[in-house]
Point group: C2
Chain length 189, copies 2
């Protein structure tokens, strides 16, 4: 009679399960009944706890933004890179890893929602980028002449590369990075 202790069902316990579901199935098609089943409750109770589906999504996006920041710190060390190119290569390798694919698929949905002004999307997207930017600043090489600007420059390149990769232009982005970084440092692997 050890295992299944009954957890209290509240937002706090629900959100990770909801997040897992949208990571697997996307935000767009997420409707109350499937979300409820995935989190072991009923649509009735989701509305009870969150008030509205719209509010649920907003809460969920906030949770995802927090989880992203935590995962970022956990997955990647915080030692500085030796060059900008190395920092770039490091983060790209992580972002394109198998483990990150569900998140990347979700990410572009969040971007689309933010671009269209859906409630809750823009703040979450903004927060995640701010976290990534902060982490990038800490990654900038020791003697970098402009760490703040460099991090922003790298962020722009990273997001452009990831978008091109998402639509099947990974080779284009890779060629672009090689061509663009020849002046400033070694090309990323």
């Amino acid at each position: 009679m050890a295992a299944s202790r009954k957890l209290p069902m509240n937002k706090h316990n629900l959100l990770p399960l909801l997040a897992q579901h949208v990571l697997a199935h996307g935000l767009g098609g997420a409707s109350l009944r499937p979300l409820a089943k995935a989190s072991g409750t009923s649509d009735r109770m989701l509305v009870y706890h969150f008030g509205t589906k719209e509010a649920l999504i907003a809460d969920l996006l906030g949770y995802l933004a927090g989880a992203y920041a935590a995962a970022l710190d956990a997955a990647m060390g915080s030692e500085r890179a030796a060059t900008r190119g190395q920092a770039l290569a490091r983060i790209l390798r992580h972002a394109r890893s198998e483990a990150m694919r569900p998140f990347m698929q979700l990410w572009w949905e969040i971007v689309a929602g933010a671009a269209r002004g859906l409630p809750g999307y823009a703040p979450a997207a903004h927060a995640m980028m701010a976290d990534l930017l902060a982490w990038l600043e800490g990654q900038m090489p020791e003697g970098d002449p402009d760490p703040a600007g460099g991090a922003r420059y790298l962020l722009t390149l990273i997001e452009g590369t990831l978008m091109l990769a998402a639509i099947g232009h990974a080779d284009t982005a890779q060629a672009g990075l090689r061509a663009g970084l020849l002046a400033g440092g070694p090309a990323p692997s």
Copy 2:
């Protein structure tokens, strides 16, 4: 008795009207009956002509890709830029213009669909990027040492900038561009 001639109702005449509707209201929420009303027909006939909603969306994405290429040629001259930075500034100014906003909102939806593997999305996204890349290659300055690589580099920067702008990080991208282009040319306006 001049004006309203009855056009034959087929894919060819329907697609522009459908495109106008998804530009205004998005792809995600697009359902047959609203699409039908927007194009002056019935859901019944949309299914008759396209076979399936999925096929309709795929056709529509193909049409949009073609329309994008045409609009790109029409809206922007084909004279070369003087510097890479100027080419970058030129295309960014266009992409962020008021007229392009509906398209940019739609664009991120297409990217999200492509990332998730929805049928028809990836080919359309890929085609639009190929068109933009080709146009960019023609824009590269006269004596550029590596026009092909440079165009790919600029494309990566452009898409990163546009994504950051879409989620409210336009300033971050702008700072990044300034920091990144100091070595290679003047910062874009």
